[in-house]
Amino acid sequence: MTGVEVAGVGLHPFGRFPDVSLPEMGVAAVSRALAEAGVGRGGFQAAFCGTAYGGVASGHKVLGALGMTGPPIVDVEAGCASGAAALMLAAASIRSGQYDTVLVMGLEKMPKGIIRSSFFSPWQEEAGFSPAPAYFALRAQRLMADSGITKDHLAQVVVKNRRHGAHNPDAMFTTPVEAAAVLGSRVVCEPLHLWMLCTPNEGAAAVVLTAGDGSLGRVRLAAAVLRSHLPGPVLSESTPMSGTTDDTVPSASQLAVAAAYDEAGVGPGDLHVVECQDTDAARELLAYEEIGLCAAGGAGALLAEGATALGGRLPVNPSGGLLSKGEPLGASGLGQVVELVRQLRGEAGPRQVEGARVALAHTVGRGANAGVAVLVG
């Protein structure tokens, strides 16, 4: 099977840009990725575009503005993992030999505040079943009960990621915060305070993939997988109304992680740097367990010993994570890939993880959809 390389990456910063349209953000990210790859009009045979709220033909609008339509353009919705879904399809199309060079992009322009999702029926909205932070809070409370996580651990995740984000000019929040200020911010849904939740926002990311084995010195995309949920857990990202009492059913993230390790031929002990879904502070700690960075119940200790901070033995979210960047749903997964490609190339500047050669990106959200990519430098 053909290998897949990353020929170029590009980003439109994550934040709020009232004067920039969704296609304009996409054009910025795509132009940078194509320029880096040395690929122009006619140089790619297909494009995959991830967006959850962008609307009909979002990818077409971007490539239409660049005069680059003609090849198939596939718009993909997979919630918070929309970019990961586009990446999975693009990588598979190269591995299969169908295409040689493929463009992948993720775009989003979210309004402020709690997301209004078409996922919920009108009666569920009417009766108060729709606020995402409430589900995050229930999951956080269960993690605290099951894994010995405290509110101080949650605050320390925010402190760590905001400290990382201070070195990322593409992030929305670039100032560090103290734990006391995090715990002093208003309670959105107990135990989650405002600063423990990421901000839905705007941005775009793009990646150019080509067939290759890394011999040109390019970063290899060793795995790009997407998984949905298995029925069972009531607090699954599938957001069911009820669930079973069987606590042994693996999560969508665990399924995707296992498939990605298998595809890449690596395990958690091989990783040097990770970008994971810190939609809220507890979600990052849950991801430590799902990715296998620690045993069940070990996330708090792993954080407390500084292992996942820059300078630690396995930095997590050196970009600042979604807690610093904000979350433009369709762009966030590819934003992680852009960060990790820069880390593996040694181009990450003050937030560089020294000697990083194997990296993992993880996104998960409603569907459920969980995406995991493994990159090797």
């Binding site: 009417e126 009766a127 079943f129 107990e190 069972g232 069911p240 009820s242 079973t244």
Partner: protein, 129 residues
Amino acid sequence: MHEGLFADGPPRLAASRCGACGQHHFPRADVCPYCSAPGSVAAELFGPGRLWAWTAVNAAPPGYLGEVPYGFGVVEFDEGIRVLGRLTEADPGKLTAGQPMHLVVVPLHTDAEGRTVVTYAFSPGPGGS
């Protein structure tokens, strides 16, 4: 009244049970969402259940027509099912893991024709708190 969620009579949830794997479902489903077998039978959940996870929502989400703050959580029933729902207690500090929770019907808002719209909720006391 949100149709399809309630049975007539004393408060109980209109659930179903799979004849093949035995799992209860809520809301009611014909095809079992756990084992894919068709032909689930109607079942009712009376409770009380036990509180399994809880929080409170302090700001009205889009489309919500009730009052804030409101409690929100998961209650586990003896039938082996955990159900999401509103809680009548909006102060998380007043609730404890595993405490009995009773099924109640609560008013949500008054619609344009003056009718009271109700939904189900879980309450730490039999008559609501």
